[in-house]
């Protein structure tokens, strides 16, 4: 009898261990949602689902003093095949840059100057807007260009200095055509809002940190209306990107090519 009880207790103990381990794995699994889905949900907050236009104002600061200001109108449309956005950027201010255009479709990057009527192909390394790279201004679906990995859950300060429970994602480029080789991104665990991101060069050094903030209802859901970009080497070099005048705006596919640039003049 004693032997039977001992055997039963031993068997139950083994089952208990198995059960605890299984439950533990289940808990961990529940706490580890798919990283790619988290990233895609965050993309959906940054990027409206249909073609749209938005005004972007860039305020640049060096050592706490404003050094430059540009205003752009950005027209974005997702490509039916790749899912990635194609973007037309029209310079609105300052006066010397009015009506200059930039077209970005993947790495197909063109700059058009209405004065000389010339369209010049740019390399991704050529910057037209000071600290902000061309890739910072255009609309990007990160989930299309990066493979996401869940690095953990942590409390992190958002752009309003409020602590948020967040998923920390590690993004590795799957396409050579992206602006940044590697990204660390914090996404709000409750709302899927992007909180901040750190962008790294291939060499591993930090290029810039971006905070997504001032969420407001725009085109059907809460979206960030301000991004604060801090330079990785010189933290006193700060660019504030403000997004306003969101509107649904279709752009025909035929317009998103070099030979249409001389004709682009939104009414």
């Amino acid at each position: 009898m004693h032997s039977f009880t001992a055997t039963l207790a031993f068997a139950m103990g083994r089952w208990l261990i198995v059960l605890v381990v299984w439950l533990g794995v289940t808990v961990v699994a529940q706490a580890s949602p798919d990283a790619q889905s988290i990233l895609a949900a965050s993309d959906e907050i940054r990027n409206p689902s249909r073609p749209f236009a938005v005004t972007v104002t860039l305020l640049e600061y060096r050592s706490a003093k404003q050094s430059d200001e540009n205003t752009l109108t950005v027209y974005s449309k997702a490509d039916n095949t790749s899912g990635q956005f194609r973007t037309l950027i029209r310079f609105v201010a300052p006066q010397r840059d009015v009506d200059k255009l930039m077209l970005k479709s993947g790495n197909d990057l063109w700059f058009f100057d209405p004065a000389s009527q010339s369209s010049i192909r740019l390399s991704p390394q050529q910057r037209l807007l000071g600290q902000a790279s061309n890739g910072d201004v255009v609309t990007v679906n990160l989930a299309k260009d990066y493979r996401a990995e869940l690095l953990g859950e942590e409390d992190t300060a958002d752009g309003e200095r409020v602590m948020r429970r967040s998923y920390k994602l590690g993004l590795a480029a799957v396409s050579p055509d992206v602006t940044y080789h590697r990204v660390e991104m914090w996404v709000d665990a409750t709302s899927s809002r992007p909180i901040k991101a750190r962008f790294y060069a291939e060499s591993g050094h930090l290029l810039k940190t971006a905070y997504y903030r001032k969420f407001q209802p725009q085109l059907g859901r809460e979206r960030p209306t301000e991004v604060v970009i801090i330079d990785g080497l010189d933290p006193a070099w700060v660019t504030v990107l403000r997004y306003s005048d969101y509107a649904w705006r279709d752009v025909p596919d035929a317009w998103l090519q070099r030979d249409y640039l001389p004709r682009f003049k939104p009414g």
């Binding site: 305020l59 600061y61 006066q95 004065a115 000389s116 300060a157 905070y211 504030v240």
Partner: protein
């Protein structure tokens, strides 16, 4: 037993979340400073984009003549206006004009010249079919310093105030055309007809000068197709009553993240530059023109372009040296009017550094090295921009041994200070 399991599971979950919270980083001090700065950033007052651009420009300069070694002065005032807007939902009006008043005791002497660059109506019949009528600056070409496929550049310059290739493309007269463009998702086809309107150029200050831009009936057909993000070639055919058919090709592509490669080619029957300049009767022969190059951009936004240029219609070194000095001057001035290469081959090196050392200071420079006669011209510009003004210092040098192409230019060097104010 159930209690034990629940306790164990809760403990495990608590351990996991506590571990994550313990690793939670606070925002770094630099980030907090940046966010505080952004909090105080002023709310920009959004000005609607104006359909016009107007600036005035004043320049003072000095140069040195090669023959006499004497200095000369340059004073210039310019008004530059551009309007571009819809006057009806599918109708767009473009008007672009510039008036230069130049006072100089050098070569060439100062003159007052108005350049009507563009004045045309554009009608979008549908969103992918557009028609233009009027004076249009039709400009093709993927190269920077020499554009073999930019056929309408010939005789388009009325006033040269800046030798920067980008400015030369801007400050020129368009040609009067009837033009149509059909667009597809990845392709475009444009056809233009430029009619004969007058036979000779008119140098009067406010002349429309259609004799320079429309001296004969001409046509241009240009088509492009996007094979991939990195490759969109353009094929062109050009000709007219006085111009044998020419075929042209423009190519550009990316090499990695920092290099753009480009090539521009044209071929067709034509006469040589010397026979055009000296008005010697000659049968047409096969001619080819080409410009190929690379633009490399550094991590600190300095763009460097190296371009090799070729013109089979221009004299080689031996042919150039056989010309009398007055004939060399004629060939040089004809090449300048046609915006063609004056000798068979040249190297063109161009540098542009945006925000050099300080924000808003752009430095540009080019070196044009003639490979046939070993002479060169060097140009350097520093330009600082404010919100509504720009100040530029420009310097140009023509150098080479006696008898060479750039030795034939009357000026040896010039320096100019230019102030532009946007109104």
């Amino acid at each position: 037993m159930r209690q034990i399991i629940i306790t164990l599971v809760l403990a495990l979950g608590h351990c996991l979340s506590t571990k994550a919270a313990a690793n939670a980083p606070a925002a770094p001090p630099d980030d907090l400073d940046a966010l505080s700065l952004a909090d105080k950033a002023p709310t920009a007052s959004m000005q609607p984009a104006r359909p016009w651009r107007l600036f005035v420009e004043g320049a003072v300069g000095q140069g040195k003549l090669r023959d006499t070694g004497s200095n000369f002065s340059i004073y210039r005032g310019s008004i530059d206006f551009r309007f571009d807007d819809h006057v009806a939902p599918q109708l767009r009006v473009v008007f672009s004009d510039r008036l230069d008043g130049v006072d100089s005791d050098g070569v060439p002497p100062g003159d007052n010249v108005n350049t009507l660059r563009e004045a045309y109506l554009s009608w979008a019949r549908t969103e992918d079919q557009i028609f233009d009528f009027g004076r249009v600056n039709i400009r093709n070409g993927s190269a920077i310093g020499f554009n073999p496929t930019d056929w309408f550049k010939a005789n388009a310059l009325r006033s040269i105030v800046d030798p920067d290739p980008a400015v030369l493309r801007e400050n020129r007269q368009g040609t009067v055309v009837l033009q149509a463009q059909q667009l597809w998702r990845d392709a475009s086809l444009t056809a233009a007809f430029s009619p004969k309107l007058a036979r000779s150029a008119d140098s009067a200050t406010f002349a429309l000068n259609v004799g320079a831009t429309n001296p004969s009936n001409r046509y241009l057909v240009a088509g492009s197709y996007k094979f991939s993000d990195k490759f969109t070639p353009q094929l062109l055919v050009y000709g007219g009553d006085d111009d044998p058919a020419q075929i042209g090709l423009n190519l550009s592509g990316l090499i990695g993240d920092a290099v753009v490669a480009f090539g521009e080619f044209s071929a067709g029957k034509g006469t040589t530059l010397v026979t055009q300049a000296l008005r010697i009767p000659e049968a047409n022969s096969n001619q080819q023109r080409a410009a190929v190059g690379l633009t490399y951009t550094t991590g600190f936004n300095l763009s460097l372009t190296a371009e090799a240029e070729y013109n089979s219609a221009a004299p080689n070194g031996d042919q150039w040296h056989l010309l009398a000095e007055s004939s060399q001057q004629q060939v040089l001035s004809t090449a300048q009017a046609l915006q063609d290469l004056p000798t068979r081959s040249q190297w063109f090196l161009y540098a542009n550094w945006k925000d050099m050392l300080v924000r808003r200071l752009d430095v540009s420079s080019f070196l044009r090295q003639d490979m046939q006669t070993s002479s060169r011209t060097l140009w350097l510009e520093g330009r600082y921009s404010w919100e509504r003004a720009e100040l530029a210092l420009q310097w140009q040098l023509f150098s080479g041994p006696e008898g060479t192409v750039y030795y034939a230019v009357p000026q040896q060097r010039t320096v100019q200070l230019v102030l532009r104010v946007y109104l």
